[in-house]
């Protein structure tokens, strides 16, 4: 079984300040973890992914995330927010399910609001 919890439904920051979006996961197997971004009325785009290589993962647009097994966390960060970062962010866990399939589980999403 697997699950993912995004700890904040909304995060509000000022432009130029750091961003932290929190994600905790649970998995019976060694998981792959992903962050996706969805801009208003758009589809989902991959920001970054962890697949058991380096624990600090760098993604697009200056985002990065650190896999911490002891804390079962995969928080997303960015040093300086930009107005274009305003969007919905989804944390996803995917592990080997029964029957051999990889079925992703999505968090409920965090809405990032960026103020001028």
């Amino acid at each position: 079984a697997q699950s993912v919890t995004q700890l904040d439904s909304h995060v509000s920051v000022s432009e130029g300040t750091p961003v932290l979006l929190r994600c905790n996961y649970s998995s019976s197997y060694s998981p792959s973890l992903f962050w996706y971004v969805q801009h208003p009325n758009k589809g989902l785009q991959l920001l970054l992914k962890y697949t058991s290589a380096a624990t600090l993962v760098k993604g697009i647009n200056g985002f990065e995330a650190e896999f911490k097994k002891s804390e079962t966390s995969f928080h997303l960060t960015k040093p300086s927010a930009h107005m274009s970062d305003a969007a919905e962010y989804f944390c996803v866990v995917s592990a080997h399910a029964s029957g051999g399939s990889y079925i992703p589980t999505f968090g409920r999403g965090t809405s990032l609001i960026v103020h001028p």
């Binding site: 439904s9 792959s32 992903f34 996706y36 758009k42 589809g43 989902l44 785009q45 991959l46 992914k49 697949t51 058991s52 989804f90 995917s94 080997h96 051999g100 399939s101 990889y102 079925i103 992703p104 589980t105 999505f106 968090g107 409920r108 999403g109």
Partner: protein, 113 residues
């Protein structure tokens, strides 16, 4: 490559009507998925397929049926639409191997009156 495409982009149905949503991918991916997205709920898996001719239920399969007769296409059917099925539907595909990324279509906005 067109990637993942969805047809139609918008649709309005009356309660009890039926319709089929088409998802097509040109990346030769084994896995295909149908999700629905509702406010505050994230994406919830309806059905998925691990290959041509195989389908399986996800988290919220009731009221939906699927078919994957060709590897590149994954159809989602609503036999008798209900207002509770008003949602945005996303299709995704991914390759077979562990850790591979899902590629999403642009979505279909469905309203059931």
């Amino acid at each position: 490559n067109a990637g993942v495409t969805q047809t139609p982009k918008f649709r309005v149905l009356k309660t009890g009507q039926s319709m089929t949503l088409l998802c097509a991918q040109d990346m030769n991916h084994e896995y295909m998925y149908w999700y629905r997205q509702d406010p505050g709920m994230g994406l919830r898996l309806i059905h998925y397929s691990v290959g041509e001719g195989t389908t399986a239920k996800g988290e919220v399969p009731d009221g939906y049926n699927v078919s994957r007769l060709k590897k590149q296409n994954f159809l989602l059917g609503l036999e008798s639409a209900a207002p509770s099925q008003t949602s945005v539907y996303f299709c995704a595909s991914r390759p077979l191997w562990r850790g591979d990324t899902q590629y999403f279509g642009p979505g279909t906005r469905l309203t059931v009156l």
